[in-house]
């Protein structure tokens, strides 16, 4: 197991390097002169030159990348063009909100998804199964920003006004954004759990359990579920990443001051260091979560050889 952990860590390094290279190149892939575009169309030639200097665009590419990577390792992501503050500080001030939002939404989608999936699988081909699967299909097909708008429309605006329209902080603020972000994930986990349960229920060892005289309740919740959850774990990891990305839309809809809003504002203001920094941080976070999920998958799935 330890060998596997080390090998898996080593495998992550090229991906992380690739991520930094890609994020670094963002600035250079801008069509035209990045300094001109970032400085704005009305900028004078000296202003553009100053911008070029400030972004370090005069140096050879390799040197630029070296500095970028060195900075990333030390937690220095450059300075915001708009505010002049360090990017890491700007992100640091916002990141917890986004992580909270993603974590709560992941918890919601696991909770809802598992229950729906298990009910659906155990009551296969009944009214409940069909209803749950139809709802899941809708959940999967709904743009989450639209779901957010609709939730605001019906639960935050008059007449109901159960929840605040926007912002973050109190428990009431959490409900609508988390539903908005968690619904698609719940749908995916429900579908995955259902098919995984149905596959497991047909396995020989389930028949063995029944032949042993195990109560049907335990056949499902002890013998089947433990096995069915193994593939679901990987989906949960991927979902967490998708949710991290999805916060961009949810935060925009609910005017939550998280990293998603930060990115969008930065894109609109052409504040490239902020865009680069945020994208990089989210990607690193995602790679990290996937690493953890992968390792726990290994741990759960004892059938995989631990060579």
């Amino acid at each position: 197991m330890l060998v596997y952990i080390i090998r898996r860590l080593l495998q992550t390094i090229p991906v992380l390097l690739g991520v930094t290279i890609l994020v670094f190149s963002m600035m250079h892939l801008i069509p035209g002169d990045p300094a001109q575009i970032i400085a704005g169309e009305s900028a004078s030639e000296t202003q553009v030159e100053q911008m070029r200097e400030r972004l370090g665009l005069n140096e050879p590419l390799v040197v630029q990348y070296g500095k970028f990577l060195g900075g990333v390792i030390q937690g220095d992501l450059g300075n915001s063009i708009r505010s002049g503050n360090p990017v890491s500080a700007e992100i640091g001030a916002r990141i917890m909100v986004t992580i909270e939002l993603a974590v709560y939404s992941t918890i919601l989608s696991i909770f809802l998804g598992l229950i729906a999936g298990i009910v659906s699988a155990t009551k296969r081909y009944t009214f409940w199964d069909t209803s749950i699967m139809i709802v899941a299909l809708f959940g999967l097909s709904m743009p989450n920003f639209w779901l957010g708008l609709m939730l605001i429309q019906y639960f935050a605006l008059p007449p109901l006004q159960w929840f605040p329209v926007s912002g973050w902080g109190t428990p009431g603020h959490i409900v609508l954004p988390v539903i908005t972000l968690g619904t698609a994930g719940a749908a995916i986990i429900a579908r995955m759990t259902r098919s995984s349960m149905l596959e497991v229920i047909n396995q020989d060892y389930i028949r063995t359990a029944r032949a042993k005289g195990v109560k049907e309740k335990y056949v499902i919740y002890k013998h089947a579920l433990r096995n069915a959850l193994i593939p679901v774990v990987t989906v949960v990891g991927l979902q967490f990443g998708v949710l991290l990305g999805g916060t961009v839309l949810t935060e925009t809809v609910f005017a939550i001051n998280g990293m998603g809003r930060l990115v969008i504002d930065a894109i609109n203001a052409r504040d490239f260091p902020i865009v680069q920094g945020s994208v990089l941080v989210i990607a690193l976070l995602f790679v990290l979560v996937n690493l953890i999920v992968d390792l726990s998958y290994r741990f759960l799935n004892k059938r995989i050889e631990l060579d």
């Binding site: 396995q203 005289g213 096995n227 004892k302």
Partner: protein, 346 residues
């Protein structure tokens, strides 16, 4: 056959599967019994309904299958009348089952010890600690080396033969009166097969249980069984004690099976004879005797009407027109004439 001597009596068992609005009769009026302490071999090709018969006895037929009729008397009580709760207390306790695929029949996420202990905990109400002790005893009983260490192993850490021993340990943990073994050795290497069969026979003597051994291998039957029921297309075609069956097979299908068995005691020249044709599919079930399309002796009467299972004086049974008064063909000695008749079959 007196009732009190039979551990189990299956009468006119009907099990069907309902697929796409159509009924497929997997087991169609099967009748047999197993005398106490004896071993019955249930023999037939794949698709003959032998596994479905065993699952019907366990009442483990899953949707879209259903036991439609007949009765299964275990110790004089009809299992088909029992509530699911009562049936559950019989499963793994009085009637146990082991399956063909030891590789997939154990739950991969639980240790071997836990899986054996579970049965004991359910049926004997033992604590986990006591149950694990019992599990250890069972592992010793089925001859697994260093049983203490194995207790904590997961199934994937064991070989196929070892896993089947674990399956046997699970099945026998509660000292059942009847063990149903569904092709227990088919998936194993030949040398392991012999070991497992010997183990089963020894444990049977030791525990005094009855066994239904399901197999397609007549060689295994000859070595282990007291009685044999030959199944074909959901029906019993011949039932006999093992000596009579091998010495004097009555049904052409039984003879065909025996002919296709490789013999080690005599030098055999040429190819093994096999039975021509295929097992009929449920959509294409013959009207008369189900074996008629493949039978070298088949006549019009065979193709038109289904013979009954006729009991002979010695208690053996056969379902074939040849052995009835109504037979309208020339006199046939099924065993001797089979090969010449088969060679003329087109």
């Amino acid at each position: 056959m007196e009732n009190n001597q039979n551990i189990i009596e299956v009468n006119e068992l009907q099990t069907s599967f309902f697929v796409g609005g159509k009924e497929v009769k997997a087991v169609d009026g099967v009748t047999f019994s197993v005398p106490s302490g004896k071993t019955l071999g249930l023999v037939g090709e794949s698709g003959s309904g032998k596994s479905i018969t065993s699952l019907s006895i366990m009442r483990l037929i899953a949707e879209p299958g259903k036991v439609k009729g007949g009765e299964i008397k275990f110790n004089g009580e009809n299992l088909l009348d029992k509530s699911e709760g009562k049936m559950r207390r019989i499963r793994g306790n009085q009637i146990s089952m082991i399956f063909q695929e030891p590789m997939t029949s154990l739950n991969p996420v639980f240790t071997v010890g836990d899986q054996i202990a579970e049965a004991v905990m359910i049926h004997q109400g033992l604590s986990k600690k006591e149950a694990l002790k019992k599990a250890l005893e069972m592992l010793e009983l089925v001859g697994i080396p260093s049983p203490k260490a194995r207790l904590k192993n997961y199934p994937h850490e064991l070989s196929g033969g070892m896993r089947q021993r674990v399956m046997i340990a699970i099945a026998l943990a509660c000292r059942p009166e009847l063990l149903i073994a569904d092709e227990p050795t088919t998936a194993l290497d030949v040398t392991i097969q012999a070991q497992i069969l010997r183990l089963m026979r020894n444990l049977q003597d030791e525990l005094g249980m009855s066994v239904i051994l399901i197999t397609h291998d007549l060689g295994v039957v000859a070595e282990t069984c007291d009685y044999v029921a030959v199944m074909y297309s959901g029906k019993i075609v011949e039932y006999a004690d093992v000596n009579s069956l091998f010495a004097n097979p009555k049904h052409p299908y039984t003879v065909g099976l025996l002919k296709s068995l490789p013999r080690h005691d005599i030098d055999q020249e040429g190819e093994l004879s096999t039975i021509k044709g295929m097992v009929p599919t449920p959509d294409d079930m013959p009207k008369g005797c189900r074996f008629a399309p493949r039978c070298p002796f088949a006549r019009d009467m065979c193709r038109e009407s289904l013979p009954h299972l006729e009991e002979e004086e010695n208690g053996n049974q056969v379902r074939c027109w040849i052995h009835t008064d109504k037979w309208d063909g020339p006199e046939v000695n099924v065993k001797h004439d089979y090969e010449s008749a088969a060679s003329q079959q087109s």
